[in-house]
Symmetry: C2
DNA sequence: ATTGCCCAAATGTTGAACATATGTCAGCGT
DNA sequence: ACGCTGACATATGTTCAACATTTGGGCAAT
């Protein structure tokens, strides 16, 4: 038999490669990406595949195709950053792009306290299980954080923690929006390689308090606890809750 | 010369036709849509075009392609309802589908009061102009509402009003989320054909109060004013703020 | 200098052929 | 009678080649 294992190790994904180039800033809004035939040659695939992948980028608003001219990178505001595929790319490649990251963190500062408040009102026992399991996972991989693997696992549970809170709102729109927080959480990982501005133990404690507020059905306290968590994240990222700091200035009473 | 006018009245969009069938409930989650070759025949186009259109539905999570079997409609929860294309389809075709509409209205009840509060803190003079122009447009087409054209214009300004508030948050994520409110606003139009459960003048007055709160930079009052607007919408739609009525039970003080 | 025409280049569309995955069912053995 | 196996039909996935259309710019005539 012929070596069947290698039969479909997937063709090189042009969409993936272009996304990396664009998100990392190599191609910027207004630039033109290479033409179809050039990409065919570069990746050694046929034109149908290239067109299929380019369409993927068009559908999420990242590039714009001008018939007879080329494919242009669109303005950031046109990008469909609510698309899970886009946030996945952002998570992987946008680390060196602070502009996009700041926008996302600003949104999180807006939204997550409110989501936490909503979760505190609607969370079921099953939701609490998911939140608690994620929290315990965070604690499990908290120490011995010099290993990159450990840090990655910690982030996975961090994401799971926040996603569980979004899902506890029991609304499909909120649940789908949870994609948006991945980029900033993973950015936290890659940045903590260089700067240790945040104490993991304190961060964990803030998460614990948020969890307890949701469990105890205390919406107002959950709101504040989520603010505290986000403030810690913002500080660790060196993004000092930009001018649009709603989360901080909210006055609930 | 040959009749050139008809050369590109666009090929029939299979994606559009399938979207209509799916959103209106003709095909439901679990059903299989016609196979590629059947669609080729039905719409008299080639297979590449069909595949291109089907891919569009796959990318937004509406259908799932099973190699060698067919294309299946996915569960509602898997649909990427944050995609502008999806909300556009929903606006046009989902009017008779109350299940999806309820989810969206629930989300609006969650989100819009908060967006209004945020807008009350960040809105610039330019934002206020946009909001006010939309409000005046609503008032202009309020009366003589027996004309379908008048009602459509009123809805356009209604959408513009709410979108302007989303944009006044000055965050690209909120701004993009404004797509989500189109379906329920347009549903309001089609339903007010049959049931006159809402007084347009009262609705306009609620919008005016919301606008004034944002102008006066009164976040808490804006929150409540937005709740009042949404409650009116929910009542007009006959959707009595479902069990997940966060917007009603919020207690800010 | 402006206008109009024509051409090159890039994207858009089409059709066919081949490859791969999936479900069905007849045939065989236990 | 039950279950496994392999061939077959069907539907989706991939590749290739050719043609159509759109865009931008050069060139020439006015």
């Amino acid at each position: 038999m012929k070596a069947k294992q290698r039969k479909s190790p997937l063709r090189p994904s042009v969409a993936e490669a272009l996304a990396e180039s664009i998100f990392s800033g190599h191609y910027q809004p207004g630039d033109f990406v290479p033409k179809e035939l050039a990409l065919c040659e570069q990746f050694a695939i046929n034109r149908s595949a290239v067109r299929s992948d380019l369409r993927q980028l068009v559908d999420v608003g990242i590039i714009e195709r001008i018939s007879g001219h080329g494919s242009k990178v669109r303005e950031y505001a046109d990008w469909n950053i609510l698309d899970p595929q886009v946030t996945a790319w952002m998570t992987r490649y946008a680390a060196p792009n602070p502009k996009v990251q700041r926008e996302i963190l600003t949104f999180r500062l807006d939204v997550e306290p409110y989501v936490a408040m909503t979760a505190a009102k609607r969370a079921t026992a099953r939701d609490l299980v998911a939140i608690e399991e994620a929290y315990e996972g965070m604690g499990q991989y908290l120490h011995n954080a010099d290993s990159g693997e450990e840090r990655r696992l910690h982030s996975d549970y961090d994401v799971a923690f926040h996603e569980a809170i979004f899902k506890a709102t029991h609304n499909i729109v909120w649940a789908q929006l949870s994609h948006i927080l991945r980029p900033s959480i993973y950015l936290l990982v890659s940045m903590s390689n260089v700067s240790e501005t945040d104490d993991p133990a304190e961060s964990l404690e803030r998460h614990r308090r948020l969890m307890e507020c949701i469990r105890a059905r205390q919406p107002r306290e959950a709101f504040r606890a989520a603010q505290a968590v986000l403030a810690g994240t913002a500080k660790a990222l060196g993004l000092e809750a930009p001018e649009t700091s709603l989360g901080r200035s909210v006055e609930l009473d």
